[in-house]
């Protein structure tokens, strides 16, 4: 009897506990989220940007066709698309849009808006920059049989096309806005996202309020948000610690994590994951002497990535040594193979001796240049300091020039630099995305080295069409070998993501990319 009673009590307790836990996880409505953005976007246009600063600013105002399901990453789910079908030959993609979606200005969303958006990305008008032009170059035509149906017909197979439709950069714009001014989205906001634009105070913050007509019923949970620009890491940490902001969704360094944990104890939540992001060295191949492969190769060979990884991972978000694909992901080149490629040798004395010889052969034994870098403490400054040190060891004198995001991007995009710390900001591990940065400049505006290499372009195209996984991997390896032997640009190290959030902040999901999950639709405050 007693046993039975005990069992009943335990069962009742378990049910009560479970109910309580479930209740604790039930999203609460209302409240305003204030979070930190550690860089200020130079403009509002998702299509023309490669920095998270634009997405953390703009994503809450926009929708995309599909989006990554962060709970089941890398699976995708619908956003504006209610449903979709893919033809067995991968040559046709048909999307059915949610009915009754409205832009923030009240204009109904139709398939024409989706078509105008994708046309802008794959075939940008004059004076419009589209870094993802190469990715969508395989689209032959876009058809809009009715207001809620969009059909993409492909020129050639792209095995990762469905993931590309989920790219967070593909914000859907209104066709009428683009018709009035192709650069409308750079300076104005009109989306279909969970929040409507309130204000952007330069140097201070961006804010938005709940979109009452959001097409996903019941969302967003928040009444509004405010993204505060905290360019100084110390200011950001103080704001998180003091509760002025409830999180920073890009990532912090190990030391910053330790400081927050020591100061805040169980009030702070720390999530960690490897990152689909790397810093790379880019040489402007249109400027002398960086048009000479010997000079570029010498500079890459002087970098001790393996040693740097051990040291820099203690003080920065830089961690893994990798090739063009994220280390540890299925298509990544294993370390044993990487070591055979220029720039990845373990015998640094030998590599540096060879590098000095290459510089002497190229006629620049006392090379001097300016290294352009972004004025972001983490991890751009450690990377810059590291590179300057590495190049000094082969007698190269470097002036380290750090500037804010806007002038830095302007210099890199206009080719007004010699050598730069660039970044490859991916949102998934697919090779078509990772390799696109290294294509010839006329195919990929992301290629800041401004190189033209038709052999690389061919290898890329062949790998995109290849359905045999083994042959595909072989083509990726051949592509990577060619990139590093020509030394146009090369990853320095891959990042490790550490995200701090207050425990009252709920519904935000960690992923390997800081570009994902920035729309804040499902975020809520447990207070």
């Amino acid at each position: 009897m007693l046993k039975k009673f005990g069992a009943v009590v335990l069962t009742a307790g378990a049910i009560a506990f479970a109910a309580g836990a479930a209740n604790a996880q039930t999203p609460k409505r209302g409240g305003n989220l204030t979070f930190a953005i550690s860089a200020e976007t130079p403009h509002y246009d998702c299509h023309g940007s490669e920095t998270y600063a634009t997405l953390h600013f703009s994503a809450p105002f926009y929708s995309t066709l599909l989006q990554f399901d962060l709970a089941k990453f890398p699976q995708v789910k619908g956003d504006l698309a209610q449903s979709w079908t893919v033809a067995p030959d991968l040559m046709t993609y048909t999307f059915k849009l949610h009915p009754g979606v409205k832009f923030h200005d009240g204009t109904p969303l139709t398939s024409a808006d989706v078509k105008a958006t994708y046309d802008r990305m794959r075939n940008p008008p004059e004076k419009v920059v589209s870094p993802r032009k190469a990715t969508f170059g395989d689209i032959a035509s876009i058809e809009t049989p009715d207001a809620n149906t969009v059909i993409f017909k492909m020129k050639a197979v792209n095995a990762a096309m469905i993931e590309h439709f989920a790219s967070p950069w593909n914000c859907i714009y209104a066709a009428k806005d683009l018709a009035s001014d192709p650069n409308f989205p750079r300076t104005k906001v009109n989306g279909t996202g969970p929040f409507t634009f309130v204000e952007h105070v330069k140097g201070s913050h961006v804010s938005g309020k709940k979109n009452p007509d959001y097409f996903k019923k019941g969302l967003p949970y928040l009444d509004g948000f405010k993204g505060v620009f905290t360019l100084q890491a110390a200011a950001m940490l103080n704001a998180v610690q003091g509760g002025q902001v409830l999180g920073e969704f890009r990532g912090i360094s190990p030391a910053e994590r330790d400081r927050l944990v020591a100061a805040m104890g169980d009030k702070i939540r720390i999530e960690e994951q490897s990152w689909t992001l790397n810093l790379l060295v880019a040489f402007n191949t249109e400027k002398k002497p960086f048009d000479d492969v010997r000079v570029r190769k010498a500079l890459l060979m002087a970098i001790d990535r393996w040693g740097g990884s051990k040291g820099l991972s203690r003080i920065s978000t830089l961690r893994e040594v990798g090739g063009v694909i994220r280390p540890g992901s299925p298509l990544a080149t294993p370390p044993a193979e990487l070591e055979k490629l220029p720039g990845y040798q373990r015998d640094m004395a030998k590599a540096r001796a060879e590098a000095k010889k290459l510089l002497a052969d190229a006629g620049v034994p006392n090379l001097k240049f300016v290294l352009w870098n972004r004025n972001l403490a983490m991890p751009y400054t450690p990377a810059g300091i590291f590179l300057v040190d590495q190049w000094r060891q082969i007698g190269v004198e470097v002036e380290h020039k750090q500037s804010d995001t806007a002038p830095y991007l302007a210099a890199l995009n206009s080719g007004n630099y010699e050598v730069a710390v660039d970044f490859s900001n991916l949102f998934m591990d697919d090779s078509t995305l990772a390799l696109a940065k290294y294509l010839s400049r006329d195919r990929s505006p992301q290629n800041l080295s401004r190189s033209t290499d038709r052999e690389l372009d061919k290898l890329y195209d062949d790998h995109v069409r290849e359905r045999d996984p083994k042959k595909r991997v072989a083509l990726i390896r051949a592509f990577e070998k060619r990139v590093f032997e020509q030394a146009y640009q090369q990853p320095i190290l891959w990042w490790h993501r550490i995200v701090p959030t207050h425990k009252v902040l709920m519904g935000w999901k960690m992923s390997p990319s800081h570009n994902l999950g920035a729309d804040l639709a499902e975020v809520w405050l447990n207070q």
Partner: protein, 296 residues
């Protein structure tokens, strides 16, 4: 009645100004010694510093002070002592140049303002009033943000101007006051009567007579300029990594690691304090030594 013979007065042998300064101003002498040590370290950094200040050593990250690294190492394993020694060069070059440029321009404007008087004086002084309305660091921040960087010979010329501009009105005001009393001296009237040009009168006859306040302001503002450079570097607007600079050593990684490696902030902080203290004290002592009103 006999007259007592008076003991003949001891006639002091004239001593050199340096010895006289040390005798009259012992604290000033100490500060002068510190300044000389700084200058020596700055000029001969390559020979004095035990390590290359830019050389990364990941095996020695955040090493505590020891015989090997007297002031410890930073987050990159760089020797802090070597970076302090090289940092004194940055501090002195920017501090001295900014102060010299600012004080010299201020002195010229101050003398011209006093000499011409009237409308010229009014215009110059109102402009000075506007500049004086801003604290030194705030004005330097505005100027450095507006001018961006212009590196010449490894030195950011615009940073020097950013620090020099706020110094100008402060020196101009003091020098003008001194020049006003010089202007009414007979020799200035005589020079004017002799038909000398205004430029000649200002530079040959008035400027040498306001050298004392000029020198005092110059030395005093070196300290302020060093502090401004350190502050701007701390705020990310001065020199950039990996240049060895005291203010820069206090920012960046130092903010992350000061709990586990307090030497990363103690030594650069002490260097800044010592340099500022030395230049301020030396300026005060120089004023006391040169100004006859302070001689009893």
């Amino acid at each position: 009645m006999t007259l007592a013979l008076e003991t003949p007065a001891v006639i002091r042998q004239p001593r050199g100004p340096v010895i006289e300064f040390c005798r009259q101003q012992p604290l000033g002498a100490v500060s002068f010694f510190i300044i000389c040590a700084m200058m020596f370290a700055g000029i001969f950094s390559e020979w004095v510093a035990p390590y290359d200040p830019l050389s990364i050593d990941f095996a020695s990250i955040l090493a505590a002070p020891s015989w090997e690294h007297w002031c410890g190492t930073d987050a990159y394993g760089r020797d802090i002592c070597s970076r302090l020694i090289f940092g004194s060069r940055t501090a002195l070059v920017i501090g001295f140049t900014s102060s010299f440029v600012g004080s010299s321009l201020g002195a010229i404007l101050g003398i011209a303002s006093a000499y011409f008087g009237g409308r010229v004086d009014n215009i110059i002084q109102r402009i000075m009033d506007i500049l004086l309305a801003f604290p030194l660091i705030v004005l330097a921040l505005v100027v450095v943000a507006a001018l961006r960087k212009f590196v010449l010979g490894g030195v950011d010329v615009n940073l020097i101007f950013a620090i020099a501009i706020p110094i100008i009105p402060r020196v101009a005001r003091v020098v003008r006051a001194a020049a006003l009393s010089v202007r009414v001296m007979p020799y200035v009237d005589a020079a004017r009567a002799a038909g000398y040009s205004n430029t000649r009168i200002i530079f040959r006859h008035m400027a040498p007579n306001v050298v004392a306040p000029y020198l005092i302001m110059l030395t005093a503002f070196i300290a302020q300029a060093i502090l401004a450079e350190a502050s701007l570097s701390f705020l990310g607007l001065g020199v950039t990594e990996p240049t060895a600079a005291w203010g820069l050593m206090l920012s960046g990684n130092a903010a992350d690691f000061y709990r586990e490696a307090p030497w990363m902030i103690i030594f650069p902080g002490a260097a800044i304090s010592l340099a500022v203290f030395a230049f301020n004290l030396f300026g005060d002592s120089l004023r006391d030594f040169l100004d006859p009103r302070f001689k009893v």
